[in-house]
């Protein structure tokens, strides 16, 4: 996944809540999904093509107390988003 950029599926409507969490309407199932605060921070970055490294940096900055497993957590989270068709890998623009 290194170097690959990811971006939201534009059909996944979402909204950040005052609590810092986010709600997403799944583009296929019409089910509502919730993101916790850490997930919401990552989701906010994914409104444009973003690398995993950039996401990990943002999480480390926003949550200085994040565990050492943050890198693995972010990778697993993005993989989950991809599998749910909420994000997709995008080709770099030339």
């Amino acid at each position: 996944m290194n170097g690959t950029r990811y971006q939201r599926n534009p059909e996944a409507f979402s909204r950040t809540l005052p609590s810092g969490e986010a709600v997403i309407l799944h583009p296929d199932s019409d089910e509502y999904l919730g993101l916790n605060e850490v997930g919401a921070v990552i989701w906010a970055q994914l409104d444009r093509p973003t690398t995993l490294e950039a996401l990990i940096s943002v999480v480390a900055e926003a949550f200085p107390d994040a565990s050492e497993s943050a890198r693995h957590d972010v990778e697993r989270f993005v993989d989950d988003l991809n599998q749910r068709n909420l994000t997709r890998a995008v080709q770099p623009t030339s």
Binding site: P10, E11, F13, S14, R15, L17, P18, S19, E21, V23, L25, P27, D30, E31, Y32, L33, G34, L35, N36, E37, V38, G39, V41, I42, D47, V59, F63, D65, A66, S67, S69, A70, D73, V74, F77, D80, L81, R84
Partner: protein, 325 residues
């Protein structure tokens, strides 16, 4: 952004002179004494009566709402009453072809109720070969707008209302598209067309769940409270109208997609406005963003499940996570 009409709304539509004259002109260019006409979603049947006046061979007015019952009285004594059939029901029950299908199934934008589904079914099954469907195209336009009146009424009361922070209410208010009046003087950017709808492709429009588009706009110095949305239409080639801010209070109104906090706009700066409109059950959801050189705003008309009763708030966790609601 869905709903239904009553005779008061239908009256306002007829009272919109720009709209009425455009439909009159477009219909007069199509209808001859050999033309069969379907007034689809007829309301009180104004299109049907106008088609009769133009001498159409046969006219069917179909409408689900009880407003259609008034057409029996309105058409009574009409010299061509025998050419008119009034159907209170669904157009899916009809089974004949028409030379002209005329309808206006929109709300303040074309994304209204089952507009596309109903029109697509009519076009596919009920429009004769070489028949005419009216309208033919719509364009959805956007511009940044200043609306101090809306902001003062809807948001400001909650900004300084101790003892609690009312941010949750402001977030909910600004996640809800609103119907507003807009004048040209209130625009804080140029206007642009974000979505084009070609009704020759109605089947595809009806199938598509999400309609997306964007417009690159130029800023006009001031404070923007959201994105104003309206539409223009082509009924037949060369005949149409628009509901833009240059018009005074057209019947359709305009939609405001609000910002949670106002956006200061610099003169001449580039602003990319994106809108996505998605079918969800019987209604439409909106998602919007404005990306400027010195800031961006976004919103979506999704409910907050923790306050709407549709689910519990997700657990706070150290690791990023998704929870079903």
């Amino acid at each position: 952004m869905s709903g239904s009409y009553n005779i008061h709304n239908f009256g306002a539509m007829i009272g919109d002179r720009v709209r009425r004259v455009a439909f009159e002109r477009a219909m007069s260019e199509v209808i001859t004494e050999r033309t069969t006409v379907l007034d689809l979603g007829a309301g009180t049947g104004w299109f049907a009566l106008h088609a009769l006046a133009l001498g159409a061979k046969r006219v069917v007015a179909v409408e689900r709402l009880p407003a259609i019952r008034h057409l029996h009285a309105l058409a009574e004594g009409h010299p061509r009453r025998d050419r008119l059939q009034i159907v209170e029901g669904d157009s899916s029950e009809l089974d004949e072809e028409f030379d002209l299908i005329v309808s206006d199934l929109r709300g303040s934008t074309p994304f209204f109720g089952d507009h596309f589904t109903v029109a697509a079914d009519a076009r596919r099954r009920l429009l004769a070969t070489d028949g005419v469907m009216m309208p033919q195209h719509d364009k959805v336009h956007v511009a940044l707008v200043e609306n101090q009146g809306w902001w003062r009424r809807q948001v400001e009361p909650w900004l300084d209302a101790p003892p609690v922070d009312h941010r949750v209410l402001i977030e909910q208010i600004t996640s809800t598209p609103a119907r507003i009046s807009v004048s040209t003087a209130q625009l804080r950017s140029t206007a642009g067309s974000a979505i084009a709808l070609d009704y020759a492709e109605l089947d595809e429009l009806a199938e598509r769940r999400t309609h997306s588009g964007h417009a690159e706009l130029r800023g006009r110095s001031g404070t923007a409270h959201g994105v104003a949305v309206w539409f223009s239409t082509v009924l037949i080639n060369g005949v149409g109208f628009d509901n833009g801010p240059a018009r005074t209070d057209p019947t359709y109104g305009r939609t405001l997609l609000p910002f949670t906090t106002p956006l200061e706009v610099a003169e001449g700066e580039t602003i990319d406005v994106r809108i996505d409109v998605r079918r969800h059950g019987g209604s439409w959801l909106w998602q919007w963003s404005a990306t400027a050189e010195h800031g961006n705003r976004q919103g979506a008309s999704l409910p907050d499940p923790s306050t709407s009763g549709s689910g519990s708030s997700p657990a706070r966790a150290a690791a990023p996570g998704i929870m079903g609601r």
